[in-house]
C-alpha cells in the first residue's frame, strides 16, 4: 500500500464538511410551518447521505471504482440542484453545497485519486 494522495484526503475532508454543512444548514433554515415538510427534510438529508457515502469511499478500505464514485458525485450535484431550484433549500446554502460537491467531484475523479483507487488502495 502506498501513501494516500493529497487529492483523495482533500476530497474526503470536503465531503465530510459538505455533509455536516448540509445537515446544520437545513436545521438552521428549516421552516416548521411549511406544507412540504417531507421534501424540505428529505432532499437535504439525501444529499448529506451522498456526501458521507463519498467520504467513506475515499477511505483506504473503500470498494467503489472511479465510475461509481463519479456517479455518486454527479447524483449529489443533481440532487442539490433539484433542491435549490425546487426551493427546499435556501439559495445561498444550495450554492455553497453545489460548489463543495463540484470540488469533491474534481478531487475524487482526479488522476492521482484514480491511480490510487486502481492500484494502491489496499
Amino acid at each position: 500500500m502506498t501513501d494516500k494522495p493529497t487529492t483523495a484526503s482533500a476530497g474526503k475532508t470536503l465531503a465530510i464538511l459538505g455533509g455536516i454543512i448540509c445537515i446544520i444548514g437545513t436545521a438552521l433554515t428549516f421552516d416548521a410551518g411549511s406544507s412540504n415538510i417531507m421534501a424540505e427534510i428529505g432532499i437535504p438529508l439525501l444529499s448529506a447521505v451522498l456526501f458521507f457515502a463519498i467520504s467513506g469511499e475515499l477511505n483506504v478500505n473503500g470498494s467503489m471504482k472511479r465510475g461509481a464514485m463519479a456517479f455518486l458525485c454527479f447524483l449529489n450535484i443533481a440532487v442539490l440542484a433539484f433542491g435549490t431550484i425546487y426551493g427546499t433549500m435556501e439559495l445561498y446554502l444550495g450554492a455553497v453545497l453545489i460548489l463543495l460537491a463540484v470540488g469533491v467531484l474534481a478531487l475524487s475523479t482526479s488522476s492521482g485519486t484514480y491511480r490510487w483507487i486502481q492500484a494502491d488502495r489496499i
Binding site: 454527479f74 431550484i85 467531484l105
Partner: protein
C-alpha cells in the same frame, strides 16, 4: 475504406447532426423571443400554415428543420449498432423528430396538436434518459453526469413552477445537451 475509418465517419456524422439540431433549435427560440407578443408555450408549437407573424413562422420552420435533424440523428444512432440501449435511444429520437416535423409541417388543424406536443416532449425526455444511461454504461462519466444534472434541474423546474415556465429552460437545456452529445461523438 477500413472499418475503423467507417466507424469514425459514422461518429462524426452523428456528432455534426446533434450539434446542428441544437444550434437550429436554440436559434429559432432566440429569434422568436425577440417578438413582442411571442411566448414559448404549448400554443407556440403551431403548424406553419396557421402562422401569422414572422416570429411564429421562423419558430415553426426551425422546429421542422430541428425535427428532421433529430430524426436523422435517431436513425444514425440505430445505424451505429452499438448496443441495445443506444438503438432504443435512436428509435425514440426518430419518433420525436418525426412528431416535431409532423406538428409543424404536415398538421394544419388543431385536433391532434396538444396530444402530439405531449408525445414529442415525452419522447425527448425518454430519449434523454436512455442516452444518459448509455453514457454511464459506456464509461463517459462527464457527459453522463451533465445529463443527470440537467434532467434533475428540469424536473425541479417542472415540479416548482409547473408547465408554464418549463418550456424556455427545457428547449435551451435540450439544445445545450444536444451540442454536448455532438461534441462527445466528435471527440471521443
Amino acid at each position: 475504406m477500413s472499418a475503423d475509418k467507417q466507424v469514425e465517419r459514422k461518429d462524426n456524422l452523428t456528432g455534426y447532426l446533434a450539434i446542428a439540431a441544437g444550434i437550429v433549435l436554440s436559434a429559432a427560440v432566440l429569434f422568436g423571443s425577440t417578438g413582442p407578443d411571442w411566448v414559448l408555450n404549448e400554443r407556440a408549437f403551431i403548424p406553419y400554415l396557421n402562422c401569422e407573424t414572422i416570429y411564429e413562422r421562423v419558430f415553426s420552420i426551425g422546429l421542422t428543420v430541428c425535427g428532421t435533424l433529430v430524426a436523422i440523428f435517431g436513425f444514425d444512432l440505430i445505424w451505429l449498432r452499438r448496443g441495445d440501449v443506444l438503438s432504443a435511444t435512436g428509435l425514440v429520437f426518430l419518433i420525436a423528430g418525426l412528431i416535431a416535423m409532423n406538428i409543424t409541417a404536415f398538421v394544419s388543424g388543431w385536433d391532434l396538436q396538444g396530444a402530439l406536443v405531449t408525445a414529442m416532449v415525452l419522447a425527448v425526455l425518454l430519449g434523454t434518459v436512455l442516452m444518459t444511461v448509455d453514457n454511464w454504461m459506456g464509461g463517459r462519466i462527464f457527459v453522463g453526469g451533465i445529463s443527470l444534472v440537467l434532467i434533475f434541474s428540469l424536473l425541479a423546474l417542472l415540479a416548482a413552477n409547473g408547465i408554464s415556465e418549463f418550456w424556455i429552460p427545457a428547449t435551451y437545456g435540450f439544445s445545450a445537451w444536444m451540442i454536448i452529445q455532438g461534441l462527445n461523438f466528435l471527440f471521443k
